[in-house]
């Protein structure tokens, strides 16, 4: 048994960095910073590009299995070549631009969307040493980068000159305005407790274990759990995933803002959706699930980026699972859920976190009191606000005709 501070296979942990340095070592010193940056960008693009490709396949497979059918399995072994077949198909399809459309915005929208959705990856720490840019205000940067994505969706919807697309554009705007707030409010407690806006510092703040098995992840505290749930709900809405896929709303708006898109531009939208989803899930892992930290001390021998990947995939699987199960909300219900439920809960959660932070010194029996109060502060408002939210909506008892 080696001490946890110096894991035996440190080289695996550092392998990506050493590989990078080995490659840049061939270049003159003046160009090395550029090469390092480029390699980081290429690595992120490659990893998440592949993740996107196989996430689409995994989504179709899992949706299929949940729906009692095997899913795509014709292209390659277990359908493993399906993403590439889809890519070739999207590339070779005719790119139809409606005559009435605004050609510049119609073209720009998917490009802007993909570009913006990639920005967020820069500040997520994928491993102990793997973060593209160390920023003091990294969390703020992440959400600033994500804030503009719905603008691109609006551009797509408006530029298509299609009534469904226009409706989708309006929905996208309303959805963004509504869910930006709970998303931001949900991570404020984390910033408060960690005392920093830097992602690496937030992950570092969640390090360590109680008794070597209980990690100090924020999600394992009452306020952290509540924050995590609010964050994930808002993240679902931000990435336009079911049950918040209102801009796309297949059964209502045909394909929403995508109605007039075809070929590779259409694929770009999907790419952006999955990138956004991955980025938000990655941020959730960073903020609440301890980032790249291993769940217990004994498992620290596994490299940190593997833990990050495992947590990320778990959250993505959850997204797919939810998509397979839940029906879509209506626009007014969507905004009501945000303003009347998530925002108050997030604000109360801020108070819970403040309480937690102030009572950090309590020990022994007081520790129990601390947990009880915090749990009550989380569960009480949830039950009360939930009752208010679902007022007038309940299962019914039916009568039968008398004859």
């Amino acid at each position: 048994m080696t001490p946890a501070a110096v894991p035996p296979d440190r080289w695996l942990e550092l392998a990506p960095l050493q590989l990078r340095d080995w490659v840049t070592g061939f270049l003159p010193a003046s160009l090395q910073w550029l090469a390092t940056g480029l390699i980081t960008i290429v690595a992120i693009l490659a990893v998440f590009g592949l993740l996107f490709a196989y996430l689409t396949l995994a989504e179709r497979k899992i949706l299929g299995r949940i729906q009692n059918r095997p899913g795509p399995n014709r292209t390659g072994w277990f359908g493993l070549l399906q993403p590439f077949a889809d890519g070739v198909k999207a590339l070779t399809k005719e790119d139809v631009v409606p005559r009435q459309a605004d050609p510049v915005l119609h073209y720009l929208a998917p490009v802007v969307l993909v570009a913006l959705s990639l920005l967020g990856f820069a500040v997520i720490p994928f491993g102990r040493h793997l973060v593209a840019v160390e920023l003091d205000a990294a969390v703020l940067y992440f959400f600033a980068a994500g804030a503009a994505t719905e603008l691109a969706i609006f551009m797509a919807g408006w530029a298509s000159r299609n009534k469904y697309a226009l409706l989708a554009a309006m929905r996208a705007l309303a959805q963004l305005i509504s869910y930006e707030l709970p998303l931001l409010l949900a991570f404020v407690p984390v910033v408060m407790l960690a005392g920093t806006l830097s992602t690496t510092a937030i992950v570092a703040a969640q390090g360590g274990w109680t008794l070597g098995v209980l990690p100090h992840w924020f999600v394992l505290t009452p306020w952290g759990f509540a924050g995590f749930v609010i964050f994930m709900i808002a993240a679902l809405a931000e990435s336009n995933r079911s049950p918040f896929d209102l801009p796309e709303a297949e059964s209502e708006l045909i394909a929403g803002h995508l109605t007039e898109y075809s070929g590779f531009k259409y694929a770009l939208f999907f790419m952006a959706e999955y990138f956004g989803m991955c980025a938000l899930c990655g941020m959730a892992v960073t903020l609440f699930l301890g980032g790249w930290q291993a769940p217990c001390a004994a498992l620290e021998c596994i490299p940190s980026y593997a833990w990050f990947g495992a947590k990320l995939l778990t959250l993505l699987l959850g997204f797919i699972w939810i998509r397979a199960t839940l029906p879509r909300l209506r626009m007014d219900q969507l905004t009501r859920l945000a303003w009347k439920f998530l925002v108050p809960l997030a604000l109360i959660n801020l108070g819970t976190a403040a309480f937690w932070s102030l009572t950090a010194g309590w020990t022994g029996g007081l520790q129990l009191v601390r947990w009880a109060v915090a749990l009550a502060l989380v569960a009480g408002p949830f039950v009360l606000l939930g009752r208010r939210l679902s007022r007038g909506v309940a299962p019914r008892v039916y009568r039968y005709a008398s004859s």
Binding site: I66, N68, P70, N73, W321, T325, V383, R387, L389
Partner: protein
């Protein structure tokens, strides 16, 4: 409490996700071209004309071109032209036969009405499962030659029904023979000489 319904639903989908790996009832998909479907005996798609023998299908068609099916066919996809001459049928009786018998399968809706109204058990339902042609018009217009299939094929696809039909036909033939015999006996009892029994075709 808010959320219990959602969790219940998630539990159901999770059960189905896991079930699809071990419970065949939760993965009923047949992977078609590799796994061919088990068609039930009653399955019907497109009619065919029954001939007595596989060697000479055109000579042994049961159809006598009575045109009832042509009249009754709801989408009117059958076209029949009667022959000018006659041929002996299975029982050796001289019958008219269809000189032209065409079914437009692009119109046919496999309703089985022609089979039900046929008094001669000569048109039956086939079990065409995969229908794809390279050409829209000619390939879907089935002629007499394409439609004729031997009785053994009928036995193969609808064994129960075919056996019953054979029994019925045999009974009819028996009854006809008995009747003919009785008539012959009556004739022979009568003073006039008996007619020569028709034992073969004219100039076989």
């Amino acid at each position: 409490m808010l959320g219990t319904g959602l969790l219940q639903g998630l539990a159901v989908t999770a059960k189905n996700l896991v079930g699809s790996f071990h419970d065949p009832a939760r993965l009923p998909t047949l992977e078609y071209p590799e796994v061919q479907p088990q068609l039930p005996e009653a399955y019907r798609n497109f009619p065919f004309l029954v001939s007595e023998s596989a060697e000479d299908p055109m000579g042994t068609l049961r159809c006598v071109a009575c045109q009832i099916c042509e009249k009754e066919c709801p989408p009117q996809c059958i076209y029949i032209e009667k022959s000018k001459d006659k041929k002996p049928d299975a029982a050796g009786k001289q019958q008219i036969f269809p000189a032209v018998f065409v079914i437009d399968t692009s119109v046919c809706m496999s309703c089985q009405i022609c089979v039900e109204v046929c008094p001669f058990e000569s048109i039956k339902m086939d079990q065409v499962f995969a229908i794809a042609t390279t050409e829209r018009f000619g390939s879907l217009l089935l002629t007499r030659e394409q439609l004729a299939k031997p009785n053994s094929y009928y036995h193969q696809i609808h064994p129960t029904e075919a056996a019953e039909v054979d029994r019925r036909l045999a009974a009819d033939r028996q009854a006809a023979e008995d009747k003919a015999k009785a008539a012959a006996a009556a004739k022979s009892a009568a003073p006039t000489p008996p007619a020569k029994p028709a034992t073969g075709g004219p100039a076989a």
